[in-house]
């Protein structure tokens, strides 16, 4: 270990050589190399975490760059784990970095997590968050949880006891994930790049505090942070008896996490190439489930307008087409609509949802 590299934190009162050695011995897995993961990885690598793992199966895209600051414009299209690993290794060649360019699922997560001592969740969806929570609880791994919404962030540490009580996990706060249909609207909330920068950096700080037993990490606490006001509100988490956690690997493998790859929906998410093919078939109805005021306006001769608020009435009235393609702005409401139709029609109709919605395939919808 180069003492000079870490000199400024080693000389810090209350930190010192011993804490630095603990960082060097620590094995930390960061899940999601996105808005939260990038700043967390940078500070964890710079601080000298000896073994750093990165999980992400995604590639860099242009709209990532305003907040995912490990990546540069020429990196677009490259695997995030590869770019991140290279940058971090250049920043600190003295640490070991392992990349896992995969999507975590029931079948692989326990194996990967068991190789690490601390898990940092910087993912962007509830399926992953519940999967990671349950896997960490089963393996008894401390979990640093970071999440953002709008101008606000949440930060917590699970599966790490404090001196007052045993440990808690995410299900002690929210026993079950919100259903897809509960998402109030389709438009992505958007995020100011600096917000995950702050929350991701705070997550790195919590990881370092937890490893080195410095200060008061957020064990059994959840911090709510508001970027607009800088207000912070800490809530103490107590244990709940309101949920069931898998107690064994067999039970874990039987859990339902709505992995698209493992649990068939009964409807299909498609791209515009598949949509083009479908449109040539007979007995197809294309349904635009957006509200009537939303733009761009699609050709009403081709796309039947059925806003979400009128969907149930439309289903009750019934229609004859066998293939149903649902379309909305971002492909989220159309999934909720697909689930509703699936429940109603089962296998008697084939249901499709346009993945990514009109925004993703703007050229397709806007061409003359």
């Amino acid at each position: 270990m180069s003492a000079e590299r870490y000199n400024r934190q080693i000389i810090l009162k209350g930190f010192g050589e011993a804490a630095q050695q603990q960082l060097l011995k620590a094995k930390v897995l960061v899940i999601g190399a996105g808005g939260l993961g990038c700043p967390a990885l940078q500070y964890l690598a710079a601080a000298g975490i000896g073994h750093l793992g990165i999980v992400d199966d995604d590639t860099v895209s242009l709209s990532n760059l305003h907040r995912q600051i490990l990546f540069t414009t020429p990196d677009i299209g490259k695997l995030k784990t590869e770019v991140a690993s290279k940058r971090l290794q250049e920043m600190n060649p003295q640490i070991g970095i392992v990349t896992h360019p995969i999507r975590l699922q029931k079948g692989n997560i326990l194996d990967i997590l068991s190789r690490y001592d601390y898990i940092l969740d910087g993912t962007d969806n509830f399926e992953s968050r519940y999967l990671i929570n349950d896997a960490c609880a089963l393996l008894n791994k401390p979990l640093i949880f970071a999440a953002v919404s709008g101008f606000e962030g949440q930060l917590a540490i699970f599966n790490a006891a404090d001196n007052l009580a045993g440990s808690t996990n995410y299900r002690d706060i929210f026993p079950v994930p919100p259903g897809k249909g509960e998402i109030p609207n389709c438009a992505e909330n958007g995020v100011l790049g600096v917000l995950p920068g702050i929350i991701g950096t705070m997550a790195a700080a919590e990881t370092i505090k937890l490893i080195t037993k410095t200060g008061q990490p957020l064990n059994n606490k959840i911090l709510n942070y508001n970027l607009l006001t800088h207000q912070q509100y800490i809530i103490n988490i107590s244990q709940s008896s309101d949920y069931v956690l898998p107690k064994s690997v067999a039970e874990f493998l039987n859990m339902e996490y709505q992995d698209t790859s493992e649990a068939p929906h009964g409807y299909e998410e498609i791209d515009t190439a598949a949509l083009t093919k479908l449109r040539q078939q007979e007995s197809v109805i294309l349904i635009d489930v957006r509200e009537k005021h939303e733009v761009p306006v699609l050709d009403k001769q081709v796309f039947t307008q059925v806003p979400m608020s009128e969907l149930n009435a439309f289903i009750t009235k019934g229609f004859s087409q066998k293939h149903v393609v649902l379309i909305c702005q971002h492909g989220i409401r159309s999934v909720a609509a697909a689930e509703t139709l699936q429940e109603k029609f089962g296998n008697s109709k084939k249901i499709y949802s346009l993945k990514g919605g009109i925004v993703k395939w703007r050229d397709y919808f806007m061409r003359p």
């Binding site: 999601g32 996105g34 808005g35 939260l36 993961g37 910087g122 993912t123 962007d124 969806n125 509830f126 968050r129 970071a146 999440a147 953002v148 919404s149 709008g150 606000e152 962030g153 949440q154 002690d172 706060i173 929210f174 079950v176 994930p177 919100p178 509960e182 109030p184 909330n189 995020v191 995950p196 959840i222 709510n224 508001n226 509100y233 800490i234 809530i235 103490n236 988490i237 107590s238 244990q239 709940s240 309101d242």
Partner: protein
């Protein structure tokens, strides 16, 4: 009895931080019903109460000047 309400995320879009008078309400279960009547958007959303910084896991008595936080889950990254 007056209490203070603070809320986060999507919930803050329709319940602003405010002091409210809850004359007839004595506990968190009744307050939940009251708030869901006042703010129908709350119904069908996942959220959790915290009373004076303690997560509410069972019906709890509310006292004058208590602070009730309403927290939804965040998943973004």
């Amino acid at each position: 009895m007056k209490i203070e309400i603070i809320s986060f995320g999507k919930i803050a879009e329709f319940i602003s931080d405010q002091k409210i008078d809850i004359a007839e309400i004595a506990d968190t279960d009744s307050l939940k019903m009251h708030l869901e009547t006042l703010f129908p958007e709350l119904k069908g959303m996942k959220y959790k109460f915290a009373l004076n910084n303690q997560l509410v896991q069972a019906n709890s008595i509310i006292n004058q000047n208590d602070i009730l936080a309403i927290m939804p889950p965040f998943s973004g990254g």
